[in-house]
Amino acid sequence: MASRSRSFNQVLLTVENISLSFGGVKALSDISFDIAQGEIRAIIGPNGAGKSSMLNCINGFYHPQQGAITYKGIRRARMRPHEAAEQGIARTFQNIALFRGMSTLDNIMTGRNLRMKRGLFWQALRVGPAEHEEIEHRKVVERIIDFLEIQHIRKVPVGQLPYGLQKRVELGRALAAEPELLLLDEPMAGMNLEEKQDMCRFVLDVNDEFGTTICLIEHDMGVVMDISDRVVVLDYGKKIGDGVPDVIKNNKAVIDAYLGVSH
């Protein structure tokens, strides 16, 4: 598959001059880029480049010391992760962060957490409107389970599942929130070729069918160049490239960062 050439005109999220440091270590310095509505945006870079830190800033786990993040036209003040979730930002983690004791179904149901409104008392008794609501949410979750082809593990505690399936359940939980912006931190790390192809297909389908904007971190260059619309390259906390895959492939700084420079 050649890189996709689509055009986007509406900006969903803008990152302006973000700097983040932990004590004396600069994780990010003066990073700026934007994510357009509906695109698949990749963040790449060698290990320790600050990619995960960037995602953690976007969803509120980290608070950059300098710079601003504007989301849906609103400049965001210091924000906590659950507030980011309320505004439609969902994510997965580099090291799978699932609720290990719960079944696949329950894990994905937690993604519906923000959309449940009925009183606790009624929920506990499962009567009246609460029962209706529970069934509605279950329908959404079952659709996601069908979409990700994980029907056979619905009731299995996720701690017992193989790695590739856990990654898929984690994606399901993020999708259950019906996010506008989906952050994927190395969705294909540690997968074999077949699992990677499945995951690529899911990412593309989510983007096509639901129009979800996706920002992903990935190390597999073949995958990145195939599925993303635009790519940001970080190295040692600095931005060294930004553009469509074809441009990035031929960017000298990027090639140097990945392959090293001869001295």
Binding site: N59, A97, F99, R100, M102, T110, L114
Partner: protein, 307 residues
């Protein structure tokens, strides 16, 4: 046989009360990984608030039912304030600290609560009447000669504990908040990423633990009178937790029953040959044996570390 059953039932019913206290520990440990040493002090605070409010309302000549209900509401509000303050001033400041640091903080909370509760509500022994009958009761008289003697209050305590556990189970399994609590227990970061606010969840857990403490305090208080020694129940709950596992609600219940029954049976049947007082140390020795054989307890999650 009749006598053995009588001892066994008496022990099981006493065990129910241990379970009630252990339950409060399990709730907080499950949801936040904090071993809350202050649970005993919370039982004392709740019981003191309850008994003193009840005294006041009765002096105002409110009908007993109204006075009792109002006193429970008052004590529940006190526990809500305790939970809120604990979250605000202690837990929130110590997010992401080591478990041992949080544990030390709860010891601090213990001393604060013990001091505050006794300053505000008084430090005497207060008899508590929550309308539960205290008469001795003979059951199964047709089966055994003379029947089996049980204390009616203990039976009510068991009923109340059963209702409480059913309520908690429904809350945890069925509600949005319950699901969120289990999620927070499993993974903090992931829970936040699906929009679960940690601070709010911690407040709710401490509140629920406070309400469990209130029930435990009411029942123990009705049995023994409300006094400072309620605070020491925390120590008795420890072996229960080691037996049942720190993360298991059913474990807390069965652990409490085993310890309650074991104490009484060993006291009555081993006491004469070993010398009395077994009741006092039995629970701890049993816990020690468990630590050697099955450190995660009967129902706790097996701790497996990848090397």
């Amino acid at each position: 046989m009749g006598f053995f059953l009588e001892v066994l039932i008496g022990g099981l019913l006493a065990g129910v009360l241990y379970s009630l206290v252990a339950l409060g520990f399990v709730l907080i440990f499950k949801a936040s990984g904090v071993f809350n040493f202050a649970q005993g002090a919370m039982v004392l605070t709740a019981a003191l608030a309850l008994v003193r409010a009840l005294d006041v309302f009765e002096q105002w000549h409110w009908p007993f039912g109204v006075a009792l209900a109002s006193a429970f509401v008052f004590a529940a509000v006190v526990m809500a304030i305790v939970a809120w303050v604990a979250e605000r001033l202690v837990l929130r400041k110590l997010v992401n600290q080591e478990g041992i640091i949080l544990f030390m903080a709860t010891i601090g909370v213990t001393f604060f609560l013990e001091g505050m509760a006794q300053t505000v509500f008084g430090a005497d022994v207060y008899p508590l009447n929550i309308g539960l009958p205290k008469d001795p009761l003979f059951i199964l008289e047709s089966l055994f000669d003379g029947g089996i003697l049980v204390n009616e209050l203990d039976i009510w305590a068991a009923v109340i504990a059963g209702l409480l556990v059913t309520g908690l189970a429904l809350f945890f399994q069925r509600t949005r908040i319950g699901r969120a609590l289990r999620a927070v227990a499993d993974d903090h970061a992931a829970a936040q990423s699906v929009g679960i606010p940690l601070n709010q969840i911690w407040f709710i857990v401490w509140l629920v633990a406070g309400l469990v403490a209130l029930v435990a305090g009411a029942v123990w208080g009705a049995k023994l009178g409300v006094q400072f020694s309620l605070s020491l129940l925390a120590l008795k709950a420890l072996p229960v937790l080691i037996l049942g596992g720190f993360t298991s609600v059913p474990g807390a219940i069965i652990g409490g029953l085993v310890i309650g029954a074991g104490e009484k049976i060993s006291e009555v049947f081993l006491g004469p040959s070993l010398g009395g007082g077994i009741e006092i140390w039995f629970a701890y020795v049993l816990a020690l044996l468990f630590l050697l054989v099955r450190p995660q307890g009967m129902f706790g999650e097996r701790i497996i570390e990848r090397v």
